[in-house]
């Protein structure tokens, strides 16, 4: 079986770097693909240029979505996804915000999960391990059913 594709929509270089490091340390088998804003996340998910070649840019199994991003923010990405007829991949919102309204809005727009970006790196390591354990292994998506 090919590696699961984890699409990370994250504009902050530090956050992206730290997440990648945490996933690597936790023994991730994800194929990690990062896009720097919501617009590119949508382009990737929809297979639009420059991501239309599916052999080079395989469809995502999981989207890790920051909320505050330039061009198109996380909420807009969720709105776009909700408007699609098929949305077989889960979306985990990964944001700094602890504001109740952000959390509620994310779920209302169809987020599968919401995690607050941890401050301490040991918490980030724990997050990466949990992500791998659940979303990388047990969780089943519409595009890949277990045989």
């Amino acid at each position: 079986m090919t590696k699961k594709v984890l699409l990370v929509a994250e504009d902050d270089e530090n956050d992206a770097l730290l997440l990648e490091r945490a996933l690597r340390r936790a023994g991730s088998e994800f194929q990690l693909i990062r896009v720097p804003d919501g617009e590119q996340a949508v382009a990737y998910l929809a297979g639009l240029p420059p991501y239309s070649d599916r052999s080079a840019h395989p469809p995502a199994d999981l989207l890790l979505l920051d909320l505050k991003m330039p061009r198109m923010d996380g909420f807009e990405v969720l709105r776009w996804r909700a408007a699609q007829t098929v949305h077989s991949f889960p979306v985990i919102v990964f944001s700094s915000s602890t504001l109740e309204r952000d959390v509620r809005q994310a779920y209302e727009l169809g987020a599968s999960s919401y995690a607050v970006k941890p401050l301490r790196s040991e918490r980030l390591d724990a997050f990466a391990r949990a992500l791998i354990a659940w979303w990388g292994s047990f969780n089943v998506t519409g595009s890949r059913l277990p045989m």
Partner: protein
């Protein structure tokens, strides 16, 4: 238990009798009847029939007669309906409509106009010209009075319009401010934390990956840096809580304090166990009118305070009790902590006020608590404990109404 009252204060008379409009109406009716008697006395027989019915003047031409009958009747009915609508408006909002007596005068003017037209219908078949004349006289009195009293109102009405426009403008400004604040909160929540995460994580990476190359002094500096970052993060979290707690939508309803305590206890399980603290409520706690989430904030902060600020070597203990009087509940949080000096008892609820530099804390917790209590339309304070070192926080809230009245109360407040 008394039955739930439908009106906020009990009255012996039915409500409409107490209403001023009812009394005015009675006076006017009296004046009209008195006027009739006066007319009779001075030789103008109000109920007499004289001459021929008006029909005669219309040449008994049916179409002409019915044209007058129908149109006069419709005009009269419309006038009556308009005055009823006005009366209802005044009735429902006698406190909110300014100048409501002008509405009453105007209503009277319209009613009498209506009766004038009804009389036009009556006299077609019944020649009661004195009565018709008398009603015209009443109409004339009401019309002239209304016409005169509304003239001096012009500047007042103009002022009211400009006031309304001004308050609308202020409302828009407040709305704009609220939106700015909302954006500010959003930006704090999202943007302020990212650099902190960078600082914290890279400091930790330095320790983990390059720890061996660092001198003990350098490591200690990195640890201090980490602690500062953690503190900054706690400050941001608490400030955001403080900023948002006053703003979320709120519906006051019946909340069980026992339930709140149970939830908070499980939320604070780790903290309570770590400090070997004891959190007890010897008696069952009552129901209050409040909001479960805000009450959790209050309980969490006050219990947290109580178990955090204790002299070294003391096992923290917080006792929660409540007293109900009339329609309020006072919740007491008594601790065995270091206590609060008399002078500081007002100050501690202010933002960024801290009593203990040794103890952890952002100085925002009690400000959040006070804000939460204020949103619940309650009050909060602190006092000393007789013969002991600790302090006792009290929170005074409205008691929950009886079970049957709870939904009504919820509506009134929400």
């Amino acid at each position: 238990m008394s039955p739930p009252a439908s009106s906020p204060r009990p009255e012996r008379l039915p409500g409409f009798i107490a209403h001023p409009a009812f009394r005015y109406g009675l006076c006017i009716l009296g004046a009209v009847i008195g006027g009739m008697l006066l007319f009779q006395l001075v030789g103008m027989p109000v109920f007499a029939r004289i001459g021929v019915p008006h029909e005669y003047c219309y040449l008994r031409e049916p179409r002409l007669v019915w044209l007058h009958v129908i149109t006069d009747f419709l005009i009269g009915a419309a006038y009556l309906s308009i005055s009823c609508t006005l009366a209802y408006l005044v009735w429902r909002s006698s406190r909110n409509i300014p100048l409501n007596w002008v509405f009453l005068a105007f209503g009277l003017f319209i009613i009498t106009c209506g009766f004038t037209h009804f009389m036009e219908v009556v006299v077609i078949w019944h020649p009661m010209y004195w009565l018709s004349g008398y009603i015209k006289a009443v109409t004339a009195a009401a019309s002239v009075a209304t016409a005169i009293v509304i003239i001096p109102l012009v500047p007042r009405v103009l002022r009211m319009i400009s006031d309304a426009r001004e308050s609308e403008q202020r409302r828009l400004e407040v709305e704009q401010l609220n939106q700015d604040l909302e954006r500010f909160n959003y930006s704090v929540a999202h943007d302020l934390r990212a650099p902190l995460r960078g600082l914290s994580a890279f400091a930790q990476i330095l320790i983990e990956d390059h720890g061996k190359e660092l001198s003990p002094e350098a490591r200690a500096h990195l640890d201090r840096m980490q602690a500062s970052v953690t503190r900054m993060d706690a400050l941001i979290t608490d400030l955001l809580k403080y900023a948002t707690i006053g703003r979320q939508e709120l519906r006051l309803g019946t909340v069980s304090l026992d339930e709140v305590l149970r939830t908070v206890r499980s939320l604070m399980e780790v903290e309570i166990a770590e400090r070997k603290a004891e959190v007890v409520a010897p008696e069952p706690l009552p129901l209050v009118l409040g909001d479960a989430l805000l009450l959790q904030v209050v309980f969490q902060n006050l219990i947290g305070n109580g178990i955090k600020f204790v002299p070294p070597g003391t096992a923290p203990r917080v006792e929660i009790s409540a007293e109900r009087d009339e329609d309020h509940v006072t919740i007491l949080f008594t601790d065995n902590g270091t206590g609060i000096p008399d002078m500081a008892r007002e100050r501690i609820f202010r933002l960024f006020e801290r009593l203990h530099s040794r103890h952890p804390g952002t100085g925002i917790g009690l400000a959040i608590t006070q804000r939460a209590v204020e949103r619940l339309q309650g009050r909060i304070g602190v006092e000393g404990v007789e013969g002991a070192s600790g302090s006792r926080f009290w929170v005074r809230l409205r008691a929950a109404p009886g079970p049957a009245a709870s939904s009504a109360a919820e509506k009134r407040v929400g």
